[in-house]
Symmetry: C2
Subunit: 426 residues, 2 copies
């Protein structure tokens, strides 16, 4: 982990720290494009072939059967079931408050305008698999979809034949309607375009590797494809801490992020040189116990600790960086939250590790990376819905705004628009 002092940096060096590593999607897109085109034209037969070829899928049907759900429930320990249920409870409690409210405004007498929300009918969730098993992601995507009222929620995960029982138990709790054992670009194509065996979805959610990300991007700009949740990059944490912070706590938070993969972004911003040294020592100590040591070491090589003069400077830097996860580990941290303008999720105080939000506090863990927190929020119930406006105007109401409509339509040289009002008063 490099240690850098903010006030010794030139403007250019500072800007470089704010940037994420460049992502070159061109090569991945070249691999993914023919898979998408093939599934678009050949449908389920092509999906099956890619699942067998690329994921070594060995069973008959790709769809999870009722029997598989039942077996999963029998195999799974009570302890794991309990953990999934506690997480689901908290995620539900937090997300239920996100159901948006419609309203009506009478903008002029007789001109009633309202807004109503509708669930997106068909949604697709991508749950990564392979080396990772992610029941938490099933909950984080499935529960908001269910709260929104989506009619059909389908999920996909790569598999050689079976899915982890924790994933299936989470899917049952979240109310997933169909679960397909297919991953990668082939899963995204199947959901975005539909096949002879299943209807296309209107929006795809969920994280994934570079192939999944490239496929999601490509279907999102194809008029025959579908919408996606948000653009993706490697996961990130930025910790702001002062000399009061417990170095072991800070080290453990940085390591939780580092174990995700070698491209994880791990940043410590602190007012204290002393803390940096103690954190580095604690990292050394804690890493020895970790199974994913190699990821962690590689990741930390490209990470940095930034020493600043005061918390104000730290907040300013963080707002420009726009981290996915922001941990505030200093006294009275709650008082500065109002000044955080760009972050996916904020963790306040010494007893709020990132892993609490990853699993069980109740907030969503699908969050904007790569600086997208400047313009996008994390996954929420509203992302599974869309607002629709409705206007209901009486004859008197239309009279009250007819001058404005006609004058603006004529300014814009759209005579038929003006005529649609005039003809009603002839």
């Amino acid at each position: 982990m490099r240690v850098i002092e903010l006030n010794k940096l030139s403007k250019e060096e500072r800007n470089r720290l704010l940037k994420r590593p460049a992502i070159d999607m061109d090569k991945t897109s070249e691999i993914v494009r023919p898979i998408l085109a093939d599934i678009k034209s050949r449908g389920s037969a092509a999906v099956n072939e890619y699942a067998r070829k690329l994921d070594k899928y060995e069973n008959e049907s790709l769809i999870v059967s009722d029997q598989e759900y039942e077996e999963a429930e029998q195999i799974l320990s009570d302890k794991t079931k309990q953990a999934i249920e506690t997480a689901a409870e908290n995620i539900s409690a937090f997300h239920e408050k996100q159901l948006p409210n419609g309203y009506e405004v009478e903008t002029k007498p007789g001109v009633k305008c309202r807004r109503e929300f509708r669930a997106i009918e068909n949604v697709g969730l991508y749950i990564p698999g392979g080396t990772a098993v992610l029941p938490s992601t099933v909950l984080m995507l499935g529960i908001p979809a269910r709260i929104a009222g989506c009619k059909r929620v389908i999920a996909c995960s790569p598999s050689k034949g079976e899915l982890h029982p924790a994933v299936l138990y989470a899917a049952k709790i979240a109310g997933i309607n169909e679960y397909y054992k297919v991953g990668g670009a082939q899963a995204i194509a199947m959901m975005a375009y539909g096949t002879d065996k299943n209807k296309k979805v209107d929006k795809i959610f969920g994280p994934g590797n570079q192939y999944v990300t490239a496929a999601k991007t490509l279907v999102s700009i194809d008029h025959e494809g579908c919408q996606i949740d948000m653009p993706a990059g490697p996961s990130e944490v930025l910790v702001i801490a002062d000399d009061q912070a417990n170095p072991a706590f800070v080290a453990s938070d940085l390591l939780s992020q580092a174990e995700h993969g070698i491209d994880s972004q791990v940043v410590l911003v602190t007012t204290s040189h002393g803390l940096v040294q103690n954190v580095l020592e604690a990292i050394e100590l804690q890493t020895t116990e970790l199974p994913r040591k190699e990821y962690v070491k590689e990741c930390l090589k490209s990470s940095f600790a930034l020493v600043v003069n005061n918390i104000d400077e730290a907040i300013h830097f963080s707002n420009e960086y726009a981290p996915e996860h922001l941990i505030l580990n200093f006294p009275d941290a709650d008082e500065v939250v109002d000044r955080i303008t760009n972050a996916g999720s904020v963790f306040v105080g010494p007893y709020t590790p990132e892993s609490a939000g990853d699993y069980a506090s109740g907030t969503n863990h699908s969050l904007p990376t790569y600086g997208y927190a400047k313009s996008v929020g994390g996954v929420s119930v509203e992302m599974f819905m869309k607002g629709m406006t409705v206007q209901s105007i009486s004859r008197e109401g239309l009279e009250n705004i007819s001058d404005a409509i006609i004058e603006l339509a004529e300014t814009e040289e759209l005579k038929a628009h003006a005529n649609a009002v005039r003809v009603r008063f002839k």
Copy 2:
């Protein structure tokens, strides 16, 4: 206008009616790509060159001066000013209710989770120009941005040297901070990447021609670019009417859409053969007065009237079509709005023409086209903001969810995540 009977169609023919004409962006993208790359590397000098070369811009500075705003205000008639002000009042009144509310939930004792909203700091608005002059679009994008609290709102329109005074007056009312007289792909590149002369924006809003649309799409998938409001296609209206509807009203609504351009989508769905004939006659009659006759005639050639057995069938077809604008012109139409699942904006009753919503009822006229109403709503205040989650957990709170966190982290084989909890209770 073709007249089709729904119950004589095969499933394939029906599905073909639901589809929009294919859009081939490949050629346009090839033209746009080098412009984006050039501006990304050469900055404002390149923007200037393209404005001069492609839009024949003739003045010195691209940015609108205070003097230009003042002159616009002097030139503009009181009648036009009044129309802009009335529209702005209604748009403000309707959109102010969209400011989202934060909230807090204590999901378990000591686990406080909340959601807060922040405005996107830098936003860019594209206001088409050329043959069209669109003060209404300035209001529809600028007012929600101002209500959201965006710090910096910039706008771009193509120009040979000046902008229409109505556009500048609308920009003043909407509180646009900087207005640039530059259009097309060069405007999108300037906003998305920033230049030596202006800071990049975080999100771009607004309609545009094929070059603008292609440029918006390309910057939205470039990690160095920015987010965009929504995907775009030609404008659309679907009118549902029965034998009680006044044919002249229906004709005027279809014509308002048809005059937008030859690729506009115009659909009439009705229970009455008689209405179709009367509407066709009224169209003939009203078209003679229209300056954009040629657009209208060309557009109507590819449009269709669909005769159905009852209003239920009409609603079902409309929900599958997912029109940008949906007009319900039959008795007690308000009672069926609950069953409309996919539409951008709904116009209820005989005195609610689409042009009311285009200009002055208060609802937004930037709406999802091309069937995207299945997954996206029109422009709203929330689209200029993003949700951020915050969790603040006490020692006791963390204890209450520690079993769930540790169990799930270990199921997912992420030991450092579990360790971040354990280390806090050592």
